[in-house]
Amino acid sequence: MSREVGVLGIGQTPVAEHWGRSIRDLAAEAGRAALAEAGIERVDAIYVGNMASGLLCGQENLATLVADAAGLLPAEAVKIEAACASGGAAVRAGYQAIAGGLAERVLILGVEKMTDKITDAVTAALATAADADYEAAHGASFVALNALLMRRYLDERRVDREAFAPFAVLAHRNAAKNPNAFFRHEITTEDFVRSPAVAEPITVLDSAGICDGAAAVVLAPLEACRSRGSEARRPRAVRIAASASVTDTVALGARRDPLVWESVGGSARKALQQAGVSLKDLDFYEPHDAFTIVTALSLEAIGFAEKFRAVDLAKEGRFDAGGDLPICTLGGLKGRGHPVGASGTYQFVEAVQQLRGAAGAAQVENARLGMVQSVGGSGSVALTHVLEAV
């Protein structure tokens, strides 16, 4: 029987265009912050979630570099790559190590430094999340693939792209309350409608921006989290109630229905079952909102909305702060920013903030149970974690 896993500490850098800072620097800052909060100096292992340090920074062997920069040598260190889901996959690797009894203290670090390259190079790097032979070789960038999905959704559902505005508007509204967010300003539906195209029908305001950031989590056996330090000064303990990873084809063209994201639905079902809870028990959900279409497809895949209904529920405000299922509570990928391989770790850190009651102005009232989901490629891999305040 595996052990229960808890969160001993969290840390993050603001998400921004950190022009003057390196990937090593950002990772070390977030890592040291999480260790300081956890009140420890050493860890047994470091799992670094990162998608493209090789292409974007000319740096592989990243985990060892980061371990050195954070003063954690000679701990085991390894980079975990699952495209945009890397940050979530690193959390799961840490969870497995603690749950399986292979480690007592693990540091998870999601980090990406994107702004050392110009946009064309970043677009090319992100396109490596697609199928190189069957998609990228034909010129499909990552945003182009999502544009195909959105176009098909709009056509089948017969709505205007304005229907997706609520997702971007709510993400920005929540990000404005998060001091670590990249876009700390609200936008209106009119801004969304007027936003210039990136790859039609996707516009700038459908898309999470290019940015830099690092987020970190220290995991330990739950008992250690509960007994640490004095009760008065200890943050509320948070346990990982479930962790699941499900895959699908990398190429969209190989799917039965590209608008049904089996990996996202499958990993959510698996995680909810493992946690012994249902969707309606969740106090909030952090979807992988890299594009507004991904948010809609995710909400439909996990079963919160029927097919083509997510946009209607969004319009009704069901996902707003105070709605049935608040999403992107600290801005999501759209508002907080999407430093690709770090995003899954940011989501996890933010969920811990919510469950501790430490999310400030963005606090979801009485948050006890939350689900975070990190998706790689166009729905080709989905990592789902359920977190619970205990």
């Binding site: 265009e17 022009w19 003057g20 702004t115 110009i118 946009t119 210039p196």
Partner: protein, 357 residues
């Protein structure tokens, strides 16, 4: 930390100034249409200036220099200019100075010093600083500094909308003869590769958003704050402020960050009317301010050049401005003298983008 002096001894000032803008104008909509973009109000400027077929940086520099000499009349003659400096990033010759052609054309040869300056968009103000040093040190009685460009924007690149032609000239001389005294200046430089053109390439490359915060804004704000602090001046002490103007937005954002108002920068934001004249932009903005200034007005100027650096200046206008101003055409006259170019092919030919060898 290096803390150089902000003013020369003896003090120096501007004896004459001149501006030149070619009459060709291509609407941004024409450029947008050629590349299949909708001109939906998001284009940075309405139109930009384009040089004529027989114009280049040297011919335009001569025009501006002649206007500056006309305004300096009674203080210095061309033959007494101890230096002729031309700052540009569109030199007609890779090797051979533009300055000698200008010096010959205006009658400053042979007993003069000339050199061409290159510092992306701040080559013009760098030439001004060198002219100030020549006069301030006694190496020259007066010196001519020009910032002029026929800027290159790669067809299809976002910079194509703004890369424009034009610039200005100033003659630096003793402060007691000046139409505007130079209260002080400073220069702030780092190795920041935000925009560059490598040897043998036709068009510059740029670092997209990197050209903003860590490049333009950091340098402009650092140089401006340093000069204001050193001189003990506040933005409200100035009637006009001029900033390097790659687009209308950057000027306003920098002005706001420093505490300058639209009333101070609006009249000098020549970019709104003709686009970004690169090395010429700061001097055109200065000409716009001097064209409107009265005795006692203060003018603040801060340039920016990629690569990267900023030169900040503070001027106080004297009573000589009134008689000098009328001796040459106002910038406004150049801005109003417009000949629209209605099609993209004609524009490419004028911009020298069609090459036959």
């Amino acid at each position: 930390m290096n803390s150089p002096a902000t003013r020369s001894h003896p003090p120096v000032g501007i004896l004459g100034y001149g501006a030149y803008v070619p009459e060709g104008r291509v609407p941004a909509k024409v450029l947008a249409a050629a590349w299949g973009r909708t001109g939906d109000g998001r284009l940075p400027v309405e139109e930009k200036s384009v040089p004529g077929l027989d114009e280049d940086t040297i011919t335009m520099a001569i025009e501006a220099a002649r206007h500056a000499l006309a305004r300096a009349q009674g203080t210095v003659e061309a033959s007494r200019l101890g230096a002729v400096f031309v700052g540009s990033e569109s030199k007609p010759y890779a090797v051979k100075p533009s300055g000698t052609v200008v010096a010959e054309a205006i009658g400053a040869v042979p007993w003069t010093s000339t050199a061409d300056f290159e510092f992306a968009c701040k080559a013009g103000t760098e030439a001004m600083r060198a002219a100030m040093a020549f006069v301030g040190s006694g190496l020259a009685e007066a010196a001519l500094a020009i910032g002029m460009d026929a800027a290159q924007g790669k067809p299809g690149d976002h910079l194509e909308y703004t890369a424009a032609a034009g610039g200005g000239a100033v003659i630096v001389g003793p402060a007691d003869l000046a139409l505007a005294r130079i209260d002080g200046s400073c220069s702030y430089v780092t190795d920041t590769p935000d925009f560059f053109r490598r040897q043998h390439l036709h068009y510059p490359e740029h670092g997209h958003r990197f050209t903003g915060e860590p490049a333009y804004f950091q340098h402009v704000e650092a140089a401006s704050r340093r000069l204001l602090d050193t001189l003990g001046q506040a933005p409200s002490d100035y009637r006009f402020a001029v900033f390097h103007q790659p687009n209308p937005k950057f000027v306003r954002k920098a002005a706001k960050a420093l505490g300058f108002t639209e009333a101070q920068v609006g009249p000098t934001a020549v970019v709104d009317r003709i686009g970004n004249t690169y090395s010429g932009a700061s001097l055109l903005g200065l000409a716009a301010a001097l064209d409107r200034a009265r005795e006692g007005d203060r003018i603040f100027l801060c340039s920016y050049g990629s690569g990267a650096g900023s030169d900040a200046f503070s001027f106080t206008v004297t009573g000589r401005i009134e008689e000098a101003r009328g001796r040459a055409p106002l910038l406004e006259k150049h801005l109003d003298r417009r000949r629209p170019i209605a099609d993209y092919g004609a524009y490419l030919r004028r911009a020298g983008a069609v090459r036959t060898l």
